[in-house]
Symmetry: C2
Subunit: 532 residues, 2 copies
């Protein structure tokens, strides 16, 4: 796949189709499909002639358009089911160099021609995460509007710390955060928030905010100014809560894991008992995390008792009138993590931490760097939001999300989410009584996560509680996954969970996926796993 139309060093023909003089109404696109990475030889030596070089405009435009030819070709293939999801190679193979694709860096520059070949090869040996049959991660799909947003963001190449150099993006962030708070249900969308480099950092913020609210002196005096503080989260929750506990000086042992029911939802009575236990020991229960859409099972914890919410994976369901009841009680949380880069299909990275109390983010994090946040600017400096971040420079993550929201409307996100949940229901209905399948938990999934074992014919006669069966079954998913990757046809995740041996975790967030892709996945599992 992805073969170049000619050897990289062939002389240029920047091929164009004649448009036939039909004026403006003929399809422009056919013209561009034909771009290849063949160049005039003269072009291949002129990195130094790109902008900002004098008269560098033409070479720059030509280079960028050749690149866009490579990228749009990749986009087309991404959605083409006849292409593979990946062309797998082991690390040592790529490190040794593949047909002129050499990863090593050197002192001397390469030609622009080679740079474009490098770009093509980088895509060729990567993974098409937008392919309709890529189900491997919570973040899948390639949204064209989101992609456009990212291209623009990198062209603008600015920084969120001050209004001064990111006026439009700063305002977009404020408006979007307000809209998200309205969907959470906080009165008039009041509160605060910020986009962070991912759900783990957003969760770190939520823990910091809770600590600052009850023990503000920790900011200046350190953890010794507080009693022993304890965090609570589901044994099924994302590992980032534990990471935050370790990083922020609580200690991972002070992150207490809550027991869950068969579906992976926190048992409220267990939370109550563990809080009591912690209190009796003289420690201070600080923070309870509820998970709205757990990573593996897609479980929604019962929120109504709980103070802080981690809904990175499930957050998008707030946009669905059909499914938002799963968030019942979310408006009682003090903070919410919501990752539009997962269920909502926004390109990576796009994660928000939303906070009910205005001003607490700044209180918690500000250090008032005079060189960045001068109070004597000519505009309203309350729009300089950088000091409430734990970062200094901050990438513009808002624009692609804002643009997608504009293009889809709230209603478009809702349709996407309802469709993904319908597809996972389709998968669930298809396999729950199918021969050779066993569900990891019973009942309709709460999210798009469908967790199941595929049991090859050779295992079906064995006693299911035997050690032999468990050992053999544990190896099935890794073997099928390895064959999937080698053949490049589809990708889906697997893992063990507690006492449960390796099972497949199927998730749907890819807007390109259809029922036929679900059928394909099941056929593929059976094709590859039948003789194990």
């Amino acid at each position: 796949m992805d073969a170049a139309p000619g050897p990289p060093h062939s002389p240029c023909t920047l091929r164009r189709e004649k448009s036939g003089g039909t004026g403006g109404h003929s399809p422009a696109s056919s013209l561009y499909f034909r771009f290849s990475i063949r160049f005039v030889n003269a072009f291949s030596v002129i990195l130094l002639d790109l902008l900002p070089a004098k008269n560098g405009e033409e070479a720059t435009m030509q280079f960028l358009l050749e690149l866009v030819g490579i990228l749009t070709n990749y986009v087309r293939k991404t959605f083409d089911r006849s292409t593979k999801v990946l062309d797998f190679h082991h690390p040592h193979q790529l490190l040794e160099g593949m047909e002129g694709f050499n990863l090593e860096l050197s002192d001397q520059p390469e030609s622009l021609e080679q740079i474009l070949v490098d770009c093509r090869d980088t895509l060729k040996y990567g993974v098409r995460t937008g392919h309709p049959r890529f189900f491997n991660q919570l973040s899948t799909g390639l949204d064209i509007i989101g992609l456009a947003g990212e291209w623009l963001t990198s062209t603008a190449n600015t920084n969120m710390f001050t209004y001064e150099i990111a006026p439009v993006f700063v305002l977009m962030e404020q408006l979007t955060l307000k809209k998200m708070r309205e969907m959470i249900g906080w009165p008039s969308g009041e509160g605060d928030g910020i986009f962070s480099p991912g759900g783990a950092i957003s969760n770190m913020y939520s823990v910091m905010i809770a600590r600052y609210k009850y023990f503000p002196e920790v900011k200046t005096k350190g953890m010794s100014a507080a009693p022993r503080l304890v965090l609570f989260t589901s044994e099924h929750s994302h590992y980032s809560i534990k990471k935050a506990g370790a990083a922020l000086g609580f200690g991972s042992e002070n992150v207490v894991l809550l027991s869950t029911d068969e579906r992976g939802r926190v048992i409220p009575a267990d939370l109550e008992a563990k809080i009591l236990d912690v209190k009796q020991k003289g420690y201070h229960p600080l923070f309870v995390n509820a998970t709205a859409g757990s990573t593996v099972y897609g479980a929604f914890d019962p929120i109504n008792e709980i103070a802080d919410i981690y809904g990175a994976w499930g957050g998008g369901l707030l946009m669905s009138r059909k499914h938002r009841h799963k968030f019942s009680g979310v408006e009682r949380a003090n903070s919410v993590t919501w990752n539009p880069h997962k269920m909502m299909g926004v390109p990576l990275q796009c994660s928000a931490i939303l906070v009910r109390e205005k001003g607490i983010l700044a209180g918690c994090n500000s250090m008032c760097a005079g060189y960045l946040f001068q109070p004597d600017k000519q505009y309203d400096v309350s729009y300089d939001t950088g000091d409430k971040a734990i970062q200094c420079g901050r990438h513009v993550d808002i624009f692609k999300f804002w643009l997608m929201w504009k293009a889809k409307g709230t209603i478009g996100f809702e349709q996407h989410i309802d469709k993904c949940l319908d597809l996972s229901q389709y998968l669930y209905d298809k396999i729950r009584n199918r021969q050779g399948y066993e569900m990891v938990f019973q009942g309709v999934p709460q999210h798009t996560n469908v967790c199941f074992w595929y049991i090859p014919p050779s295992l079906r006669g064995l006693e299911h509680n035997s050690e032999e069966y468990r050992e053999k079954l544990h190896k099935v998913a890794p073997k099928i996954k390895a064959m999937m990757m080698e053949s490049g046809t589809t990708m889906v995740g697997y893992q063990p969970q507690g006492q449960k041996v390796n099972f497949f975790r199927m998730v749907v967030s890819n807007p390109a996926a259809l029922q036929s892709d679900i059928d394909f996945l099941i056929d593929e599992i059976e094709r590859l796993g039948h003789d194990l």
Copy 2:
């Protein structure tokens, strides 16, 4: 500037110039310059016809190419000195809506035509950070290869946590980090490292690593398992060290600020005295941060006594044979923060934390999430590097940097850095004896930072030590800066520092800047400030 060639709702003419049948060798670029955002009406309603819709290819390609027309137009103008750096508007003006540019989000989708208008307007009301006369930040410039790298990265839209879904990028990161460690001078480039979302997070890593090295039990038991730990850093250092101290549970009061000499360099004797003082109090000195290129003065601390290095701004100088002596002793550090997105002109975000001791990053941060880092994969899972991050999902920041390194070679970065330092020397020579200027510190700058006051004629007769003079001078830089932004001609930063009233901090990292742009800046300061 940036006016659309026609009203947004005019009927389409996708204008093309006839190429005159010259085959492949005529300049392709002229064809594309002419793209406008005018469409066929039919195109303006078909968001739902973009990919992944059936037969969505053509509409998708057309949409993306229209967008590229807007972006390349912006790129061209960015380098055009006859355009403004920015078109300033106050927050309330942008919020009220500018000529059809409405930031509010709604339930219903917008047409693709409007989406493209939104894209154009987003750029129009933003700041051209790549403009040759934009000197406002440490990160300036628009590197075309870096831009290409970002466009590709967003098209690939994947995640650094596993080799499985980012094979090429994971290897590029490893090779590049090794190369950077070689430049630091660690034997054979051994050690560890990771790209993080910015210098502040990289510095947070460095503090966490130091804590883990000497008090590993803090990871599980929290800060109470260690004595009172103290961090040391220059009073001129970046505020992120203090932020890290607050966030990680040390407390900002346990971040001791070191006195500096007149040039902003840490005084080693002061470090020694303060370490002794801390020890006498029974606390534990954990971490000393040396700054290589301070934010305001560009000062290089004397490194040879010091354990951990923050060289986010100055890191690029390691690539210059002429200037790397300023890093003398850096190889003795345990960790180094190096931000290629600053001096080296890599698009935001691109920051690395480099560590001398192999395995310590993983030791410090790993939580072994089974669903992500399965040990039973078919490839060498030592390439699954995600668990050593404090993040889970991690944006691909490496590719643009790798691609720039390929295209420039080490030698190209060196030339860029030497050129920037030459330009700042040019500025220094120009103003140090010029009437109306006073340097904030004497002597040739160590980095590209040139810090100076402009003194309008009305102040020149006043007693320099008088309160009146200080008060008046303090207002000069903000006033000039405000006028600069209103007129949109150039941008440069200012700030106070300690007892010193507001002064300009000029920095050069923009590869597009020439001596004439330095001249322009000085002329502009005098034009705007003469009558103050």
